[in-house]
Each structure stands twice: as C-alpha cells, then as structure tokens.
Subunit: 236 residues, 2 copies
DNA sequence: CGCAAACTTGATGTTGCTCAAGCTAGGTGG
DNA sequence: CCACCTAGCTTGAGCAACATCAAGTTTGCG
C-alpha cells in the first residue's frame, strides 16, 4: 500500500508532476527526494475533515473526491481530483474537507515539515503552490455559480462537459465517468433520482448514450453545450 | 477618487495590511511603496470577469461583492469581502469574477508587475499570498456546502452568523448588513422574496429583530445557531 | 411632498425531492 | 455454468420547498 518512490516505482516521471514541473532537474530532484509514493484502493480514505493536516498530496493517477458533511449526514462533494491536482494545503493546521479514493489512486505525498522547508528553500516553490491554489479557487467559484444558479439539466450537462474536457481530446466522444450517481448528485447539489432522470432525458433526446456503467458517449455535443448554457428545450 | 497613498492618506496603518503584516518594517515599507490607495463609491465596479488582471487589491475598509454571471443574467455572488481580504489574483491573466463596491470602499492596489517583483524579491511574500488564498478556498468550500445542501432557513441563519462573526465581537448583538436583499439572495442561491420571507420568519420567531434597513439585531443566538445547523423547528 | 428603489406579503406554479417499486449488471457460491 | 444476490441505477406517483407573478408598503432622497 505504501511505497518509497525511489525504490518501488521508478517508472513515474517526476518531472511531469505539478510540484516539479518547470524547475531545473536538480531542484526537481530535491522536491521528489522528500516525497513518498502511495496507493489507495477505491473507497479508501486519505484524511478526514478536522484531521491534523500532516501531509500534502499530488494525484499521480486515478480519481478522488473531496467532500464536506453536515452533522445530519448531508454531503457536498467539493471536487473530483484527477492527475496533476494537489490537495491537503491547510494553513490552519487541520484539513477542511475529507478525501477518498474513487478509483484506485496513486499519490505523491509530502510531509508538512518537508513542504515548509521546500517553500523556504526553493525560490518559486511557494509561488507554484499559489498558482495551483488559485486554479482550485477558480474551479470553486465556477461550482458556486453552478450550485446556486443552474437548473438540474444545466448542472448535469455542465458536469458531462467538464468530464469530457478534463479527459483532454475535444473529440473524446466516449467519456469515462468513474463516480457513482450518488457522487454526481452530491457534487451537483441534487438527488440520485434527479441525476438519473436527467441522464435519461439526455439519452432520450439523443444527446448522450449510456454505454457501460461508467461510460457516457456524447452524441450531440452542440446540443449538450446548449443545455449546459441554459438554452435547453426553449427553441426547438 | 484615486489617491497616492503617501500623499493623500497618511493615516492608514500599513503595518496592519494583510500584505505587510508580520514583515520587518523595512520590508513592509517596500511593499507599501509599490501600492496605491484608491476609493470606490457604492455600486462602482473594480473590474469585470474577463478583464485583463492588471491589479491585485487589498480591502482597507468597506465591503464589496464578487460575482459571476450566466449569459442570461443570473448572478451568483461568490463572496462579500471586507477589510483585510485580497482579491484579483489571476494566474491565467484575466479576472475570473467581477468586483463591485457595496459601501464606500478603500483599497490598496498593486500592479501585476510590482506584485511579481515582490514575489520574486521578498522571501515569504508568495507564501503569504498562498495562505490568504487558501483561506479564500476554504470559505469557497463552506459556501459550496451551503449552496448545495442547506435549506433556505439554514442558509439565511448561517449568513447572519457569518456576518456577526466577521464583525468580531461575539457579543455583537447588532449586526451591520450593508448589502441588499438582492445581494443576499444571489449569495445564498435564493430569490429576494425567499430571503425576505425568511427574515420575517426569524423576526416572528423572535430570533432576530430588524432595526434600521441595514441593521439586524440577534435576539436569540442559540436558536439562530440551531436554525443554521438544521435543527430548526423540529424540536420545539 | 412626491417619487423611486428596496422591501414585504400574498396567491399560484413548478422544479426537484421523497417515498416506493422495479430493473440490471456484476460477483459469488453451489 | 448457472441461479441467486446485492449494490447501483431507473422509473413512477405524490408532495414540499422554493420560485414566480403581482400587489402593496416602507424608506430614503431630491
């Protein structure tokens, strides 16, 4: 479950990690020297809201979910993170959300202690983290707009487009959706049933086609974009 | 409307700005030397989503709103910012939200160019910005939970408690609420009418009392906290 | 004093939630 | 290899919360 980077996983290309990218090779070496590779099985917990923030992680492969809970169990997923994303920055000393693996996940872990040293000693390292965090903040603001002001159809359509974009290829007709309907619902601020019904509507409208359980084919991207933008159904 | 810090507003205590706080006096001097004080009247725009991100601002006094718009005009306010908050960090080069003054606002402005130099030259400056941004991210995640999973009553109660906390004194029975019902609605993902009705309900339940238009007195803080936590009305 | 903007209140409508079955796919043991 | 079992998903019917539409009322300002 836990492997020293240097010892057991020599095939990871560290130069491509968000933490190392762009730094001269020697610097990248210093950064990766203080990191540890780690694997998590689907469903496994990385840390929970309120835990001591002892580590920072970068996702190397796989998908995980970040979420917050209300006392009565209502859950809001604040993000799905795939390769290249960083999680666990917590200036207050405790994590402000919980993190769990959705698929099998490979992570690069940095101890808080090591991280502080990197920030002190490597010029530009803190700034790199600032850039990454600013991007997360931007994503968070987009999601606020979605949660607060979009309809169920707009939410689901936006979600599918987001997944498609994340998987690069604009031509990615087949999108992999590794998370369950429950996860999608808790991400979009909807119920499972509404998500399911909306998928069905998109299928009936020939906008998407549901292949295997975790695969969605985007059949009519233009229409999907119209739905996401709120032009849905009004002008047909 | 626009004043050189050194010339027209010598009474601002720069050592207390989030950008300067904690740095030795000489460093703080360097930071404030590249900044400009600026005033905005209520309703005035600082910048809009998509504009070139030429400046970073720190709020010195007053309150402003950040928001995003959908093409059809639906608005989501992503945050209300008061003294000490920083806005305008945009690694992509363009602002990802719009910013407007709610009250009269005093700002400390840094040009992008100056900011980059500060980050390069002052050790710990990028890290300071990272800390501030991490806090914003945390607030954003709290708001996602609110938008996605709380009821109207929980939202309004949480909002009032947030305003009270922001104004320091836990004993702050009288809370100043400078923003309009429309702003509150767009912040909470509700309509004006629902916000108004919820205020009325809280008033009828003797949880708050509405004094002047922009003043709310918290009469029963315990009950307000119960409402915010979702225990509302069930056990009375 | 009069006007406009902001807010409140009421009546009605609609979206998405709840509760309750059914269905399907993938895994397991006989 | 197949029948069964279960978790995850879909579908349906009814309902509640919040939105919409439409007046009123209050407040602050010229």
């Amino acid at each position: 479950m836990l492997a020293q980077a240097q010892t057991y996983a020599p095939r990871i290309d560290f130069a491509k990690l968000a933490t190392c990218r762009g730094f001269p090779q020697q610097t990248a070496g210093r950064i990766m020297a203080v990191s540890t590779l780690e694997k998590k099985a689907p469903g496994q917990n990385l840390f929970s809201e309120g835990d001591n923030a002892d580590n920072l992680y970068e996702v190397v492969s796989g998908t995980l979910r970040l979420y917050k809970l209300l006392p009565d169990g209502r859950r809001q997923i604040t993000g799905f993170l795939c390769a290249g994303h960083i999680l666990g920055l917590a200036p207050e000393g405790t994590y402000v959300y919980s993190a769990e693996a959705i698929t099998e996940v490979t992570l690069c872990r940095y101890s808080r202690r090591a991280l502080e040293r990197l920030m002190d000693e490597i010029p530009g390292f803190a700034r790199r983290l600032l850039t990454v965090t600013s991007h997360e903040l931007r994503a968070a603001q987009d999601q606020m707009l979605m949660l607060g002001r979009k309809t169920a159809l707009e939410k689901v359509a936006s979600f599918l487009l987001m997944m498609a974009e994340q998987q690069g290829s604009d031509e990615a007709v087949e999108v992999s959706v590794p998370m369950s309907r429950a996860d999608i619902a808790d991400y979009l601020g909807l119920t499972i049933e509404t998500v399911s019904r909306t998928f069905t509507k998109l299928k009936v409208d020939r906008v998407i086609s549901l292949r295997a359980r975790n695969k969605v084919e985007i059949v009519d991207r233009d229409l999907l974009e119209q739905f996401a933008a709120g032009d849905g159904d009004r002008d047909i």
